[in-house]
């Protein structure tokens, strides 16, 4: 007999809801059984084409009726915490899109509730599942460049060149602009590679947007002397897709990683690596996924989440980690509102 599949539901059926819904429905160990979205057009469309999936207008009813093993929360950011709290109350595990919350206070409330009533959680910082960035993590864990001295990061996309409309551009709903909605991916990588920074200084600039930043520049320092900077914008020309690059200098050489490759330059050879350049590109590192929509790393993340549900284990990219990123973001905005003053975290 076939093993029973885990039952998944989607809260908020926009672009990311569609993507996660299709992926969890394609994984061997899970299926999509319910969707909730307040928009009647979305409800009607999916009733028509996906009659096996139950459609709900609100998540409380869905959580009560659909008998879910897990939910994927893909609402606008300001609704993440209320939806997550409802999941906790119903003992439903959840994967929530990043960032965890629109502000640190709500994130802390969520974390406190989780401490009392734990469920398995994950936050959608998907760059960890991109083959190049996960390869860089492996190489850094092997101390490939020796002691890490500096790191710099750029994260750019050509997205916004006039005032944007919708929740992403309202501070109380999104929690911020290019830093909170995009650069947090790179902040997660930095914390994953090097731990939470000790201090930050930040400058932000709004030009196209009224309430949120379009440009941000942040400097960091860590406990052990490591320091670095991150430059972020969604209004940068000639970046068709979101592109992230980290340049990491160490005592033995340099590691450069972006969406396309990992390159290591070593001044002298080591046991595992020759001196000079070693490059690993996406085709070297590619592995297939259950469904390649958007990019393969979304499916890798959803698979990892389902694996943790099956083994009842806690992933490292859980809500507690999401809260740390939120703390970091709060400190960044705090510094920016005080002309780049140093903020300790």
């Amino acid at each position: 007999m076939k093993e029973k599949k885990l039952r998944g539901g989607i809260i908020g059926f926009g672009k990311m809801g569609l993507l996660h819904g299709a992926i969890i429905n394609s994984l061997p160990q899970s299926q999509l059984v319910a969707i909730c979205d307040p928009n009647p057009s979305i409800q009607q469309t999916f009733k028509k084409f996906a009659s096996d999936v139950s459609m709900y207008a609100d998540y409380l009813t869905m959580l009560n009726e659909a008998n879910l093993d897990f939910a994927v929360i893909t609402t606008p950011t300001f609704l993440h915490v209320p939806a997550a709290l409802a999941c906790i109350d119903k003992k439903v595990n959840f994967l929530v899109e990043k960032p965890l919350a629109a502000n640190e206070r709500e994130a802390r409330m969520l974390l406190n509730r989780l401490k009392k009533n734990p469920v398995i959680t994950m936050v959608g910082y998907m760059m960890r599942y991109m083959e190049t960035f996960s390869e860089a993590k492996k190489l850094l864990d092997q101390q490939i460049v020796g002691k890490v001295l500096t790191v710099n990061v750029t994260i750019y996309v050509s997205q916004l060149f006039s005032a944007g409309k919708g929740w992403r551009y309202k501070r109380d709903q999104s929690g911020g602009g290019c830093i909170n909605t995009q650069a947090t991916h790179a902040l997660d990588l930095l914390c994953w590679y090097f731990g939470l920074p000790r201090t930050v200084n930040a400058r932000i600039r709004s030009f196209y947007s009224k309430e949120v930043e379009d440009f941000g520049h942040i400097t960091f320092s860590w406990q052990d002397g490591l320091f670095g900077w991150l430059d972020s914008s969604w209004s940068m020309d000639n970046h068709r897709l979101l592109e992230t690059r980290l340049t990491i200098t160490g005592e033995h050489g340099t590691l450069i990683v972006d969406d396309d490759f990992v390159k290591v330059y070593l001044r002298t050879s080591t046991k595992k690596f020759p001196s000079g350049w070693t490059t690993r590109s996406k085709p070297d590192l590619f592995s297939g996924v259950s469904l390649d929509v958007g990019a393969p790393h979304f499916a890798r993340q959803d698979q990892d989440f389902v694996n943790h549900l099956l083994s009842e284990s806690r992933p490292s990219n859980d809500a507690a980690n999401g809260y740390r990123i939120q703390q970091l973001t709060t400190s960044i905005y705090n510094s920016a509102s005080h002309q780049g003053k140093t903020i300790s975290i």
Binding site: G14, K15, L18, L19, G21, A22, I23, N25, S26, L32, N39, S41, I42, Q44, T45, K48, F49, A50, S51, D52, V53, Q159, L160, G164, K165, G166, W167, R168, N238, H239, R240, L241, E243, D258, D259, D260, F261, S281, K282, P283, D284, F286, G288, V289, S290, L291, D292, V293, G294, P296, A299
Partner: protein
């Protein structure tokens, strides 16, 4: 349905739009070089003269200028077989990020540079359209195809994101609808692009579509082949289809001989698509693949 056998060698479009699956930076440089549509069509003509009688075009904004330039050249206008891939997804993803998914659709229908004729052709108001998803899809397809109608259209492919979303969500009726609408209304062969052929070819088959036109990655490295190279090869044997292999060179990672010998080992594949901005590479690739399709 128009029974189309795809050209053995189809020239790809990615390099013209700054798309490079190996390097975004290289993609942006190539896009800079191809700012002038005349330069683009010169390269298309070069590939055509060497035997690439097909051209794939995404419905990118820039493709409109390419289409206009092709129409100006009589030989290409008459003989070049054009395969359309729609929609250009990055445009919609960005718009959805800016406006939200539902607002995006509303705004697209309200404005989107629609011609007067097209507006007249729009049946019912925007509000009515959003209540009827198929009418909405028809309108979006018409809108995307409008600038390319003067070309010698051979097939229209559904973008891989939409094919794979539909297959992942197991949405009934979408594939049969697409096939029927493209064939009847636009009198062109419908096709499906997929990055998950192991799954999508099965679902297309289960939707009752026989011998569909498929475009999917097949290369010796297994790059972009999901769920796995093995499952994609299995689907190729199990579900009869007319298959165009894409990413054959794994974004420039495999050499043409190795790629051609792999494609040759898969009898279901009778056609390849590749793009390049380098005339020497184009010449070499076309010559290599022509040998296996003799």
């Amino acid at each position: 349905m128009p029974n189309v056998f795809p050209d053995p060698i189809i020239f790809g479009h990615n390099q013209f739009f700054g798309i490079n699956h190996l390097s975004a930076a290289r993609g942006a440089e190539t896009e800079e070089y191809f700012q002038d549509p005349k330069k683009i069509v010169d390269l298309i003509a070069f590939a055509y003269n060497l035997g690439a009688h097909g051209l794939m075009l995404s419905t990118h904004e820039k493709a409109v200028a390419i289409a206009t330039e092709i129409v100006r050249r009589p030989t290409l206008k008459k003989n070049l077989n054009v395969y359309i891939l729609l929609p250009y997804m990055a445009k919609y993803v960005k718009k959805a990020n800016e406006r939200g998914l539902v607002n995006m659709v509303f705004e697209l229908l309200k404005t989107g540079g629609l011609s007067t004729n097209f507006r007249i052709g729009l049946k019912g108001s925007v509000g009515v359209l959003t209540k009827d998803p198929l009418a909405l899809l028809k309108t979006l397809i018409d809108l995307e195809l409008l600038p390319f109608k003067k070309l010698n259209l051979r097939a229209v492919f559904l973008h891989n994101s939409l094919t794979d979303l539909t297959a992942g969500l197991k949405l009934k009726d979408i594939f049969p609808f697409f096939v029927d609408y493209i064939a009847r209304k636009h009198q062109v062969a419908p096709g499906f692009c997929t990055l998950t052929s192991g799954l999508s070819m099965k679902f297309i088959y289960e939707s009752g579509l026989e011998k569909p036109l498929i475009m999917a990655p097949f290369n010796p490295a297994g790059f972009q082949m999901s769920p796995s190279q093995k499952e994609c090869e299995w689907a190729l044997k199990r579900f009869p289809a007319k298959v165009i292999a894409m990413s054959v060179l794994a974004a420039g990672y495999s050499n043409p001989e190795k790629a051609a010998s792999y494609i040759h080992s898969l009898p279901a594949i009778r056609s390849v698509i590749f793009g390049s901005s380098n005339p020497q590479h184009i010449e070499k690739n076309i010559a290599t693949f022509r040998k296996i399709f003799r």
